[in-house]
């Protein structure tokens, strides 16, 4: 199961081996029509520094898995752990990049990031140091020029980058991305995927990303978790993506391994677990 090539040395350690650990998790929601079982028997362990994608048809509960790791939801039964501690509530060590960016429209981009920085580091650092962090992370996502703009003054791609900056600014142990590029056009999405790859290499953080984009999953991930359709969705298969890094989307387009992996995911989604037309 040692799937990461970059972190084989770290993977020897017990904690880093199961940095994020999901154990026998079931999730049911109470609805007016009775109990609805969204997830059944989810088991997953993610190593430190690993990039894992969760892919599946819409409604399969992949976002629910992410929300469980984030602590925004608590499992009906089972346990989740992060860095050896049970996940009981949300916290800045598990930063979330939301699907719709969720920036506060009345704050500037820098102020949005500052809100996160302040919460995590204000106890130990001076104001100047906090501002320095904001400046640094805005530069990291290439948005220094837009720091003083309000979210409604910038494009969708830029908003999502601010969302990523806000999450990264907290120096999280785990970065959780909920369909981060789903609402963007194809070109912007490709750009941001490349940027995210660069950022993740630099920061070395662990990441879990929910997506419905097969190319995105193969390009970015070390492993792809493929989920069966709900209700009672579970993990169908896990695919190791042993493509060397750094990855280049143009080179990969012709690559045999890449295309094989891609068709593996497609086969899972459209042959074995095809979703009936709603």
């Amino acid at each position: 199961m040692k799937s990461t090539l970059t972190n084989t040395d770290k993977a020897m350690n017990k904690i880093t081996d199961r940095y994020v650990y999901i154990e026998n998790v079931n999730m049911s929601f109470e609805t007016k029509k009775g109990s609805f079982e969204a997830l059944k028997n989810i088991n997953l362990s993610i190593n430190q520094g690993e990039f894992v994608s969760i892919i599946g048809h819409s409604g399969c509960g992949k976002s629910t898995v992410l929300n469980l790791v984030a602590g925004l939801l608590l499992p009906s039964t089972g346990h989740l752990f992060c860095a050896g501690r049970e996940i009981a509530k949300p916290g800045p060590e598990r930063a979330v990049v939301f699907q719709n960016h969720s920036l506060l429209p009345w704050l500037t981009c820098a102020e949005n990031v500052y809100l996160a920085v302040e919460r995590v580091f204000a106890a130990t650092e001076t104001k100047a140091q906090l501002y320095e962090r904001v400046t640094a992370v805005m530069a990291l996502v290439g948005l220094s020029h837009a720091a003083d703009k309000r979210p409604n003054e910038i494009s969708g791609g830029m908003k999502q980058r601010v969302g990523i900056a806000r999450a990264l600014a907290m120096e999280p142990k785990v970065l959780l991305l909920d369909e981060p590029f789903g609402a963007l056009d194809a070109l912007t999405r490709a750009n941001l995927q490349d940027e995210l790859m660069g950022i993740m290499t630099k920061s070395g953080a662990t990441a879990v990303m929910v997506t419905h984009d097969v190319d995105e999953a193969v390009l970015l991930s070390d492993r792809i978790v493929m989920m069966t359709n709900g209700p009672s969705a579970t993990i169908g298969e896990i695919l190791d993506v042993k493509l060397p890094r750094p990855r280049n989307r143009l080179a990969l387009a012709e690559d045999k391994d890449y295309n094989h992996l891609r068709s593996e995911v497609l086969r899972f989604l459209y042959e074995r677990h095809a979703k009936k037309a709603a």
Partner: protein
Amino acid sequence: MSAMSLEKESLQSMMQEAETKLSHATEDGVAANDETLVISLPKVKTEKKPMSIETKLRNDKIYALMKLALPPMFGILLFLGIWTLISHQTPVLPGPLNTWKSALDLFAHPFYVNSPDDQGIGWNIVASLKRVALGFGLAALVGIPLGFIIGRFEFMSRMCAPVIGLLRPVSPLAWLPLGLLVLKAAGPAAIWVIFVSSIWPMVINTAVGVSKVPQDYMNVAKVLNLSEWKIVTKISFPYVLPYMMTGVRLSIGIAWLVIVAAEMLNGGAGIGFWLWDEYNASNYEHIIIAIFVVGIIGLILEQTLIAIAKRFSYE
């Protein structure tokens, strides 16, 4: 600057074609410019076939202005016409002209004081505004925080719902005897009536706003692990502000609506009392003037609050 000089050039060419007295008018200043434009435009149209861009733009501007200004003007004229007609049929009702003359007399000395019961209209307006400010201010002081608490905690919302539902539809004046009974004075009783009838829109709108804060923002707050204070100042309050301002606007409207009735019953200084007093003194023009004064002040209050609300809107 270049646009200005262009405008002057085209103006000059137009002036050459126009009559000499028009060119005199334009020299007087900008205000006169508009006038000459309106008059000389038809000429430009007929004499110069290919219309310059500036003239066309100006034409469009005047057209847009007329489109904006004409309907309200027609409305007011129609209103004055109907009023005149009715006043001719019923001689006891003063017509627009008599009312206007009477208003000129009245507003020549707005701030005289003969006795507590006989003061200028200015003092009466001030007295009413003071009452409204006090009653409405107290209502805002209690209503807005109450709205926040009700919106934030479902328990409080359920707890207060039956009481608010019961008290809100009560007619404002129904509270007056209770106020007189407990407060034992007319002045505080009027303020009490304004307080109790203008508090509800602020409570309800604030509560609705707070309960509508998008779950996405609350999730951000949870992930960032923000304190309750930070949630209120950085998320709830900015989000709720437009809702709150709507409540404030409705409340001040109600407060101003209620003050006239309350003062009529209470006596003392105030525009409502004055209206009633003038009726008793058979100064019927003054009744109509009072109605206009109440209307215009209400309009100003409302527009001021709309302007403030726009200022605070984050969009």
